[in-house]
């Protein structure tokens, strides 16, 4: 959202000559295409765009984008990106990370880039597994995940990326998944948000965690299990053809959400909530909805900008410099000084 001038490009302009090295069928391909499709739509300028990544399958992303790219080290992309943005706030930064990179080894940096609110789009590819290191359980793996490092099934409880982001103070939190047609819309909304925009993208690792998201992402019965949020629209899912139209309503018994059935299209009567992207409390509930009894909340969960870190830093520097002449000679001679002249030493 930083490029002041919109540039005309096509999808081809964003492709590099590098051979893409993900496993055939990996969800990363779909995300790459979605991003390459989105950037022309928003008029982004390749010369002004920087993709910054950490380590992992997802973090190879920058090599396939005909933009500036920095493939950094494991978990540290948010810190590198913070330095890039502070040094040149005009750059349009996309951060690419995964569940291991962004929430395990780099969890600390993720928390701080979100709470500082450094303007960038953060795409966290969540495949609930370590792919590049051959399939160990990750911090988002579900309990009981069998992997080379957890042959009896993992015993640790997974982190919820969107809840983590909200807890860290993120002002934009969204969800999508690799093959979803709506992913570009989510990316466009993230780009339009000034500040750190966190997007969890469920990504199918067909080698080590195949189809783990099929329970909600499979096309068959998707309406039943996906709640696509639209600002200003009622939170509805399902259809007359399947189990009927349903919606989310506030639980009369106390803070929380309920699934209610909508009769004859009258969602108001059923008390279905209208999605307000600036409602932080509801955003927390949507992020934490237990899948199964509830559908998977997708789309923009929360979007309520506040001033960015780089703007605050620039403003602080402007104020600190106001009316001051940056003379190095004067700076060096500052403080209590004395002069020695000629050969005869003179103690003031």
């Amino acid at each position: 959202m930083n490029a002041p001038v919109k540039i005309e490009t096509s999808l081809k302009d964003w492709e590099t000559d590098q051979e893409v090295r993900w496993c055939p069928g990996c969800g990363d391909y779909a995300i790459l295409k979605a991003v390459q499709r989105t950037l022309p739509q928003i008029g982004a300028d390749p010369a002004n765009t920087v993709f910054i990544s950490g380590i992992g399958c997802s973090s190879r992303f920058p090599y396939y984008m005909e933009t500036y790219g920095f493939h950094t080290i494991h978990g540290r992309a948010p810190a590198v990106a913070t330095g890039v943005k502070l040094a040149n706030p005009d750059l349009d930064i996309w951060l690419v990370t995964g569940d291991g990179d962004g929430l395990s080894i780099g969890g600390n940096h993720m928390m701080h880039v979100l709470r500082r609110n450094v303007d960038m789009q953060i795409m966290l590819f969540n495949n609930e597994i370590y792919g590049l290191t051959k399939g160990q359980a990750s911090p988002t793996s579900r309990e009981g995940t069998r992997s080379p490092s957890s042959p009896l099934g993992s015993v640790d409880h997974p982190a919820n990326p969107c809840a983590f982001a909200l807890g860290s103070g993120a002002r934009f939190v969204a969800r999508g998944f690799d093959v979803s047609k709506k992913l570009p819309e989510v990316l466009i909304a993230a780009h339009a948000h000034k500040g750190a925009a966190f997007i969890e993208i469920f990504q199918n690792c067909i080698v080590y965690n195949k189809d783990v998201f099929d329970d909600f992402a499979a096309p068959k019965g998707a309406e039943e299990r996906q709640l696509w949020l639209e600002n200003g629209e009622p939170m509805l899912f399902g259809s007359e053809k399947t189990g009927g139209v349903r919606g989310l309503a506030l639980d009369p018994a106390g803070p929380g959400l309920n699934v209610v059935t909508v009769e004859a299209g009258d969602w108001q009567a059923a008390g279905v909530l209208v999605h307000d992207v600036t409602n932080r409390a509801i955003a927390h509930m949507l992020a934490e909805l237990p899948f199964g009894p509830f559908p998977m909340a997708l789309g923009v969960l929360y979007d309520d900008p506040r001033p960015t870190f780089e703007a605050a830093v620039a403003e602080e520097r402007r104020r600190a410099s106001e009316g001051k002449v940056a003379s190095l000679a004067k700076l060096l001679a500052k403080g209590q000084t004395w002069t020695v002249d000629g050969t005869a030493p003179d103690p003031i």
Binding site: A79, A87, S321, L331
Partner: protein
């Protein structure tokens, strides 16, 4: 007031003055409880000493705890200053004067005091309770155990309370001015004007004029007390004449200040904005504090969430076209190691300042050591060469910081600048440099494709340096990263021949960094013994070699600034001496580098007590190489047993 004559001590403090000749250097140590304001007292005494035109060196020695329990042995905070009418290179071995504000301060510092030296003690603090805390069975001021020294013991606490009475402060607040009372006495002892300290107090307590007045009254009372005491006998006023100095403007700097100023100067000479990423750590935080007040110089300071983020953000800023700088101390440097590899691989400029402290692990946060040399030169995964520069003193650190910036920008590489806790905290007079005396080294950015229609981000110039390309430059989009790069294009390339070629290219670039030839700091370019030092051991080595030479020994001092790559002539130079002795505040790290690089029989002299070398212990080590010299028959320079205790031994 109690005064004890010491039969054993032939020379008394101030005695030569009464005989009409002032000593050319004096060492004073102020010691008290952490809460007594000894660092402040020392700092102001340093200022008055500098203003009097003496050369000086200081050594602040304080506990790691912010407010250690009062009166305890480990809560003692001390500030030593050595000043004189000649060149001063060290903070002095053994103090001539010890100011002890409580029994613990006396106990911890007494060993160091010269026989015949003067103890000034506050009897008001020598209570049963404080004596117990200091583990004294009897009051040392009264039991004759201090007979070796001159003792001036009186109730400074009470005299201070008396002096500030007109200001209506409570006793607790009144006692806070004790350090100013003591400073007043010290100012009188060395014939110093009070006016600059008055000014400083008024400035410091601008919003609380009554506190300023109380402190000034205490200072004046201490000063007046000196005159009375002189009338009474034992205390002598000393005037140390100013040192001969090159003409110019002077001020005192600590290493932390001069490094900060040098970094600002370096960024200006490179014509770049500076980005400083830091994380709080002792003793490196002072650099972050200084730079965060210099925003008008195009400095962005970023207090990161951890050491790793601090260096990574600096790397990001360098990538985006600024001069990235980060700073820490040993444990923090360890955390930054992986990111240094990234800067080496992506060939981006970066300056890393390491204010070394005692290690390993948390080690001795407030004490000095030089034990991160291996870490600096060798301490990364993979073959990861990186230039290393070591500052030898607070004022030298200014030039070293500029040099680090120059190499970083001219060779597109991270550079480590080594300093240590001693340099960071110690102050010395500094001839204010003229920025125009430094040759600029403006950074250049690639604006157009560099290979016809192609861009080669890893093409190399005659220095082996790749181009610096700022994101945002039209038409030059490319990808970099920590994964092995193909020569020229920078694409991912794991092929055997490419990794070999890139490893060689990175090594050649660093070994080709233009480094000035090594000079000899004192002595000749060949001879019986070279004492080779680096970093903050400069002062004591220089003094010890100077003294040995005056005794006729054929010994020279070589002090190395460029630790990596080493100066091209260093090997040849070292081979011109029969013996090479390498004193270091570690277990022999630079010695290993010299042996490895030159196959010379460099011998270690090591010390890891958290204290700087004393001149005497170096002199003694030098002496062992000069058996049979006239005046030194029997092999060794006599050991001065009044020196600082030194737990180190010569490692054969």
């Amino acid at each position: 007031m109690a005064s004890q004559a010491a039969e054993a001590a032939p020379e008394k403090f101030g005695q030569d003055m009464s005989q009409g000749s002032a000593p050319d250097a004096v060492t004073v140590r102020f010691a008290g409880d952490s809460g007594d304001g000894m660092q402040l007292t020392g700092g102001q005494f340093t200022l008055s000493t500098a203003l009097a035109g003496n050369d000086l060196a200081t050594f602040p020695d304080f506990p790691a705890e912010i407010r250690a329990p009062q009166g305890t042995l480990f809560g003692v905070s001390a500030f030593q200053i050595n000043f004189g009418s000649r060149r001063i290179n060290t903070a002095g071995d053994a103090p001539d004067v010890l100011v002890a504000m409580n029994p613990a301060a006396l106990k911890v510092n007494l060993e160091a005091l010269k026989p015949g030296g003067l103890i000034i003690a506050d009897t008001g603090e020598f209570t049963k309770r404080n004596l117990d805390k200091a583990k004294y069975d009897r009051n040392p001021l009264e039991d004759g155990s201090l007979a070796k020294w001159d003792l001036l013991a009186f109730d400074i606490s009470e005299l201070t309370v008396e002096a500030v009475k007109p200001f209506g402060l409570g006793r607790k607040d009144a006692l806070r001015s004790k350090n100013m009372w003591t400073l007043g006495l010290a100012l009188w002892m060395f014939d110093r004007p009070r006016e600059p300290i008055h000014q400083w107090l008024r400035e410091k307590f601008r919003s609380k004029p009554d506190i300023a007045d109380a402190n000034i009254a205490a200072l004046d009372a201490g000063h007046a007390y000196g005159e009375t005491a002189e009338l009474a006998g034992p205390l002598q006023q000393l005037h140390i004449p100013p040192v001969e100095s090159a003409p110019g403007l002077y001020k005192t700097v600590t290493g932390a200040e001069s490094i900060s100023l040098g970094l600002v100067a370096g960024a200006q000479l490179a014509e770049l904005p500076m980005f400083f990423g830091g994380y709080p750590i002792t003793p490196a935080s002072a650099i972050l504090h200084h730079l965060s007040r210099l925003k008008e110089f195009g400095v962005t300071t970023f207090q990161a969430e951890d050491e790793i983020a601090a260096i990574c953000a600096a790397i990001g800023a360098s990538y985006a076209g600024q001069l990235g700088v980060t700073s820490s101390s040993g444990p923090g440097i360890a955390l930054k190691t992986e990111a240094m590899g990234l800067a080496i691989m992506t060939e981006l400029p970066l300056v890393i300042v390491n204010s070394q402290r005692g290690g390993p692990s948390t080690g001795l946060p407030t004490k000095t050591e030089q034990s991160d040399l291996y870490q600096a030169v060798y301490g990364r995964n993979g073959d990861a060469p990186m230039p290393v520069i070591a500052a030898r003193s607070p004022s030298d650190a200014f030039e070293c910081a500029i040099e680090a910036c120059r190499i970083a920008v001219q060779y597109m590489t991270p550079v480590m600048l080594l300093t240590d806790g001693y340099i960071a905290n110690a102050a010395e007079p500094w001839k204010v440099p003229d920025p125009a005396d430094f040759a600029p080294f403006p950074a250049k950015f690639l604006e157009q494709k560099n290979a016809g229609d192609n861009l080669l981000p890893y093409a190399r110039d005659e220095n082996g340096k790749r181009p610096w390309i700022k994101p945002g430059t039209p038409g030059l989009m490319h990808r970099i990263g920590g994964i092995e790069k193909a020569q020229g294009t920078g694409h991912i390339d794991y092929s055997p021949a490419n990794h070999q070629a890139m490893t060689d290219a990175r090594a050649a670039k660093i070994s080709g960094v233009a480094v000035p030839d090594q000079d000899v700091a004192l002595g000749s370019t060949s001879g019986k013994l070279a004492v080779v030092g680096w970093g903050s051991t400069y002062g004591p080595i220089h003094q010890a070699v100077g003294r040995a030479r005056r005794r006729g020994m054929d010994v020279s001092h070589i002090h190395v600034r460029h630790i990596w790559p080493l100066p091209a002539n260093l090997g040849e130079l070292l081979r011109a001496y029969d013996n090479v002795l390498v004193p270091e505040m570690n277990t022999g790290q630079f010695k290993t580098v010299l042996r490895d690089q030159y196959l010379v029989d460099a011998r270690p002299l090591t010390k890891t007590s958290g204290q700087p070398f004393s001149i005497a212990e170096l002199e003694e080590a030098i002496g062992t190489y000069f058996d049979g010299i006239a005046g030194n028959e029997g092999g060794e320079v006599p050991v001065n047993d009044t020196q600082l205790p030194s737990p180190e031994a010569m490692n054969p």
